[in-house]
Amino acid sequence: MKKEHTHENAKKFGMVIDLDKCTGCGACMVACMAENNVPFKKDESEKLDSITWIRVYKLTNGKSFPDTEICYLPKPCMHCSGIGEHGHSPCVSVCPATATDYDHTTGIVSQIYTRCFGCRYCMAACPYHARYFNWWDPVWPEGMEKSLNPDVSPRMRGVVEKCSFCFHRYQAAMDKAYTEGRRELEEDEYQTACTQACPAGAITFGDLNNPDHKVHELKKSPNAFRLLERLKTNPKVYYLSSRDWVRKAGDNYLEAENKVKKK
C-alpha cells in the first residue's frame, strides 16, 4: 500500500453535485439500483433499513409559509480520504477484516462483500449513513432476476454494501483501454450510472486531480462545499449551491459562528 501513496498517476475520482440543478426527481437512485443490483423489499418505507446507495435528501430552510425553501441533496458514499489523504477514511480504518479498503490508485473506497462478515463497525463509523446492511436475503420476484447486471454481484444477507462509484465501470473501461494499448482513460469513458442518468446533468464525475476534468474546476467554485468538512473526513463528493442556508446545512456550526457568518 505504501508505495502507491507516491504513485504519480494516482487518480482521485470524485463528484461535484450541483444542488441548484438537482430537481429531486430520484433518477439517480433508480439508475444506481438498476446498475448495481440493489435489492428491494415489498415495503421500503422504513428508510432506516432501506438500501439506497445514493439517497436524495430533502432539506428545508425551516421558515414558515411563504418563505419556505426546499433543496434536494443526493448523498452517495463520500469516498473519504481521511486526514492527510492517507486513506484512513472513518470506515476503512475500523473494518476488522479489511473488507472495505481505500484504493490509492483511484481514491475509491471498496467493499468486498464476500469478505465482510457483517460486524457493522463501518456503519457505526460513517457519519454520512452511506453504508447499508443486508438485513434480509435479497429476493427478486420470479423472472426479474433476468434484469440483473452480471458486472456487479448481488449481495448475500448479512453483509454491508454501499456506493462503489460504479467501480466495475472503471474496471471495464480500463480493460478496454489496455486492449487498445492505452494506460489512461478519457473523462467520458468512466462515468457512474447516476451521473449518466441524471436528467438535470447535476452530477459531474471525474478525476479531481486531473486539471482537464470538469470536476477539477467545479470543486473550486465559491459555492462549493462538502458535507461535514469539520470532521476531517475529507470527502470526495462536493456540492454546489448558490444558497447560503444550503451551504450552511453541510456542516454543524456553533451559534457564535453563525452570528459571525451572517455578517
Binding site: C25, P66, T68
Partner: protein, 749 residues
C-alpha cells in the same frame, strides 16, 4: 481400572488434539465460509455478450430515446440516448425501472377470460384463437343487430399506427366511439384551434426561452416530457434565465424557481389577465404582432383594462399589486418570455380560460411561433392508408352521435370527452356502450371519481382489455388480450408532448416476447379478418409488422438504426400565414367568444372561477392533488424501484400522508404523523398528516399515483387513489373536465 480410565481419558485428549491439529476442522471452516459466500438462493447473474439496442420509452408520453444494455438475450439496463432531441442521455426513474415492468412477475402470460365476478380477479387461461373468436363473435352479433355504434374504444393516444388501426377498425366496423384519455393537451388543442385556427398541438421551446412564467405547471415534476423539462431547467440555470412559479404549494418546480408566487388556488386566469392589463396599460406589448397579426386586440384590451386592474386582481388572487406589476414588467421585458400552464403534470384538461389567458400573454409579447416561445405544431402526417370502404352498416354507424358528445353541436370543439362518456353510460338505463376495448389506458384508476367509472364499467356487458399487466381496468374486464410489453414490440411513436420538433420514434422488440402475448396491432388485424367482408378488406396487411414497415416506407431503416427520426425540414413556424381562424389572424378572444355564444364578450367570459365541489361550511378546507416523478400516476403504476424512492413523509407502510401547513394543523389540533379522516363529497380516506410549511394555510395536498389495487405486492394497497376523492367538474361550454381540487373536511382519528 485406574489405568483403563487414565488410558481412556488420554485417548480422548489425544483424539481432540489430533483432530484439532489435523486439516479437518480448518478445511470445514473454510468450506463453510465458501458456502456462505455462494449461497445458492442468492442469484448470480450469468455473463455474456454485451449489446446495446436503441428504442423509445413509452411509459409516459414524454418519448425519451433509450438504449437498452443486453447480456445475451437478457435486457439488464435502460440508459438514455445521447444527443436525442428529447432527453439527450437522461432518463427518469420510471424509465430506468422499466425492466421491472418487462420482467415483472405480474405480467399477464396469456389471454384470460373472466370466470368470477368483475373485479374479483378470477381468470381462466384461454388460447388466442378462442379469445379472438369470442371477440369477433360478440362484435358480429352487435353488428348484425345494427348496433355497431355501441362499440367503443378507450385509448391513451390517437397518434401513430396502433391508434390508427383501432380507429380504422371502428370506422370499418361502424362506430364513431374512439376516445382518448384526457389531459391538458385537450385544452391546449381547443384553445389553439380557436386562437390560431386549425388543429395543432402546443409546442414549447423551453430550451431557448429566457423567462418562464409558469401557472402551476409542474415543469420539473413531470409536465409534458419530464426529462426534457428537467434538462431545460438546467439550461435556465446555466443561462441565468428566470423562472416564476405561480401556485399555492411549494412544489419541486416552485422550489427550483427564482420566484415563487403563492396564489389563491383556481384564480390563475385572473392573474394572467391582470398581467395582460399591466402590459397593455404600460404599452409593453409587441406592437408588430398585435397590430399586424392579431384580429381582436382592441376588444381584448377594452375588457382587460376595464375588469382586470391590479387592485381587483390582487383581491381575487391574493397576489399583491406590487408583485403583479413587477411580474408583468419582468415578463414583457424579457427577450424571449414564455408563459405556460397545465397544473402539475397536466393530467387533467383544467380550465380552458386559464389556457386562453396564459396564451394571450404569449401573444401580447409576440412570443408565438418564435424561438423561446409557444409554437403551434401540426401533427405528424405520415400515415397514408387507403380510405376505408365502409359498407352500409358501417356508414350508418359512423353517422351516429358519439356517446361522449364530442364534436356535437354543443361541444363542437372537443375531440374526446371521456368524463362525459362516463356520465352518459351511467345516466342511461341501457348502456349506450355494449362492447368496450381499452388499450394503453387505465380509466378505472386515472379518471376522477373512480366509483362512477367502475359503475359505468359494470353497465357495459363486454369489456376487453389489451393490458399487459393487471391494472384496475383490466381487473374490471371480461377478456384480457395481453399485448407485448414495451421493449417486446415494434411500434411507431410520434412524439408530441410539447415538443417543438417533428420526431417519430420507433419502439423495438429489444427482447423477444416473454409470454404468450400478442401485439395489439396483430390482434386487431386478426379480429378484422375473422369478421370478414369490408372490415377484412380495410386491413390489407398480413400482420402489424408488415403494416408498420409499409407505413413508414423509406424511414424504416434509419428508425431501426437510430431509434428515432427527426423531420429535417421542420423549422420555426412563422407568423405570416400561420393563422387559420376565420380572420386568418390570431384571435385573443377565440375562447371567450365561444363562451359568450358568439355574442357580446364580457369579462366573465374570460374568467369565471371554476367552482369546486362541496360547500365551504361542511367542507372548510381545499384538497388538491400533487404530482411527483417518483409516483407514476398514469396507466402504469410505480415499479418496485420507483416506489422505493418515495419518501417516508409521503408514504409509510400502507399510509399516505397529506401535506398540511402547521397553522392549519394547529386549528385542528393535529401534529406530524397523526392519523386523520379526510372527507370529501366524493369519498373518505384515512390519511396521515405531514406538516409542511410550503403549503398555503387552508389547503391540503395529497400525492397522486397511490392506492393501486395491483399489480403486485410492491405497489398494491399502498395509500389512496386521489381520484376516489374527487369528481369531474364539467366545463359547461367545452365539456372538458375543469376540476382542480375538491373541498374537504378533516377529523383527527
Amino acid at each position: 481400572m485406574k489405568l483403563n480410565r487414565r488410558n481412556f481419558l488420554s485417548l480422548g485428549v489425544g483424539v481432540v488434539a489430533g483432530t484439532t491439529l489435523s486439516p479437518l476442522p480448518w478445511k470445514l471452516m473454510d468450506d463453510v465460509s465458501i458456502w456462505s459466500q455462494n449461497w445458492p438462493w442468492t442469484p448470480l447473474p450469468p455473463d455474456g455478450e454485451v449489446t446495446f439496442e436503441k428504442s423509445v420509452c413509452t411509459l409516459c408520453p414524454g418519448g425519451c430515446g433509450i438504449t437498452v444494455r443486453k447480456i445475451d438475450d437478457r435486457a439488464v439496463k435502460i440508459e438514455g440516448i445521447e444527443d436525442h432531441p428529447v432527453n439527450d442521455g437522461g432518463v427518469c426513474l420510471l424509465g430506468l425501472s422499466g425492466l421491472q415492468l418487462l420482467y415483472g412477475p405480474t405480467r399477464i402470460k396469456s389471454p384470460l377470460k373472466r370466470v368470477g365476478e368483475r373485479g374479483e380477479g378470477k381468470w381462466q387461461t384461454i388460447s388466442w384463437n378462442q379469445a379472438l373468436t369470442e371477440v369477433a363473435a360478440k362484435l358480429g352479433e352487435l353488428r348484425s343487430n345494427d348496433r355497431s355504434h355501441t362499440v367503443a374504444c378507450i385509448s391513451g393516444s390517437d397518434q401513430g399506427t396502433v391508434p390508427g388501426l383501432l380507429n380504422r377498425f371502428l370506422a370499418a366496423y361502424g362506430s364513431p366511439n374512439y376516445i382518448c384519455t384526457p389531459s391538458i393537451h385537450d385544452s391546449y388543442e381547443i384553445a389553439l384551434s380557436l386562437m390560431h385556427g386549425g388543429r395543432s398541438s402546443a409546442g414549447f421551446d423551453v430550451e431557448n426561452t429566457d423567462f418562464v412564467l409558469s401557472f402551476g405547471s409542474g415543469i420539473i415534476d413531470g409536465w409534458m416530457s419530464p426529462v426534457r423539462m428537467i434538462k431545460a431547467n438546467s439550461i435556465w440555470k446555466n443561462e441565468n434565465s428566470k423562472v416564476v412559479q405561480i401556485e399555492p404549494r411549494l412544489s419541486n418546480t416552485a422550489a427550483k424557481s427564482d420566484t415563487w408566487v403563492p396564489i389563491k388556488p383556481g384564480t390563475d386566469a385572473a392573474l394572467a389577465l391582470g398581467l395582460a392589463h399591466v402590459i397593455i396599460k404600460e404599452s409593453l406589448y409587441d406592437k408588430d404582432f398585435v397590430e399586424n397579426y392579431a384580429f381582436d386586440f382592441n376588444a381584448f384590451k377594452t375588457i382587460v383594462l376595464e375588469s382586470f386592474a391590479p387592485d381587483d386582481v390582487a383581491k381575487i388572487t391574493g397576489v399583491d399589486k406590487k408583485t403583479i406589476l413587477s411580474l408583468a414588467k419582468q415578463f414583457a421585458g424579457a427577450s424571449k418570455p414564455l408563459a405556460i400552464c397545465g397544473r402539475g403534470q397536466g393530467k387533467t384538461p383544467g380550465s380552458i380560460d386559464e389556457v386562453a389567458a396564459v396564451h394571450a400573454l404569449n401573444a401580447l409579447v409576440g412570443n408565438i411561433n418564435k424561438p423561446g416561445g409557444v409554437w403551434a405544431v401540426s401533427q405528424p402526417d405520415y400515415i397514408k392508408w387507403p380510405e376505408v370502404q365502409m359498407d352500409a352498416v358501417a356508414s350508418s354507424g359512423m353517422k351516429r352521435d358519439r356517446v361522449d358528445g364530442a364534436g356535437s353541436e354543443k361541444f363542437s370543439n372537443a375531440n374526446y370527452l371521456l368524463n362525459r362518456w362516463v356520465g352518459a353510460v351511467n345516466s342511461s338505463d341501457e348502456s349506450p356502450v355494449q362492447a368496450l376495448f381499452i388499450t394503453d389506458a387505465d380509466p378505472c384508476y386515472t379518471l376522477s371519481d373512480t366509483f362512477a367509472v367502475k359503475k359505468a364499467f359494470d353497465k357495459i356487458p363486454f369489456v376487453v382489455s389489451f393490458s399487459s399487466n393487471i391494472n384496475e381496468t383490466a381487473l374490471n374486464a371480461d377478456l384480457i388480450l395481453p399485448s407485448h410489453a414495451f421493449l417486446e414490440r415494434y411500434e411507431d411513436v410520434p412524439l408530441s408532448a410539447g415538443l417543438t420538433k417533428s420526431v417519430i420514434a420507433l419502439s423495438k422488440p429489444v427482447v423477444k416476447p416473454q409470454f404468450n402475448t400478442k401485439h395489439v396491432g396483430d390482434a386487431i388485424i386478426e379480429i378484422a379478418k375473422k369478421l370478414g367482408g369490408s372490415i377484412e378488406e380495410a386491413f390489407p396487411w398480413d400482420d402489424y409488422e408488415t403494416c408498420l414497415k409499409a407505413t413508414l416506407g423509406d424511414k424504416w431503416d434509419a428508425l431501426v438504426e437510430n431509434g428515432y427520426g427527426a423531420d429535417p425540414d421542420f423549422g420555426v413556424p412563422a407568423w405570416e400565414g400561420a393563422f387559420a381562424t376565420a380572420s386568418m389572424k390570431f384571435e385573443f378572444l377565440g375562447v371567450a367568444r365561444v363562451r359568450s355564444g358568439e355574442k357580446d364578450v364580457q369579462a366573465k367570459h374570460l374568467f369565471t372561477p371554476v367552482m369546486i365541489e362541496g360547500n365551504e361550511k361542511s367542507y372548510p378546507i381545499t384538497l388538491m392533488p400533487y404530482d411527483s416523478l417518483r409516483l407514476a400516476n398514469g396507466s402504469i403504476g410505480d415499479p418496485p424501484f420507483a416506489i422505493k424512492t418515495v419518501e417516508d413523509t409521503v408514504l409509510k407502510h400502507k399510509d399516505v400522508f397529506i401535506e398540511m401547513n402547521p397553522e392549519t394543523a394547529e386549528a385542528y389540533d393535529i401534529s406530524e404523523g397523526d392519523y386523520a379522516v379526510l372527507n370529501t363529497p366524493k369519498g373518505k380516506a384515512r390519511v396521515k398528516i405531514h406538516l409542511f410549511d410550503g403549503i398555503m394555510p387552508g389547503l391540503v395536498a395529497m400525492p397522486t399515483g397511490l392506492g393501486h389495487t395491483g399489480p403486485d405486492e410492491y405497489l398494491a394497497g399502498k395509500g389512496i387513489n386521489f381520484n376516489e376523492l374527487i369528481g369531474p367538474v364539467e366545463d359547461a361550454d367545452f365539456g372538458l373536465d375543469a376540476v382542480w381540487a375538491i373541498r374537504a373536511n378533516l377529523t383527527k382519528a
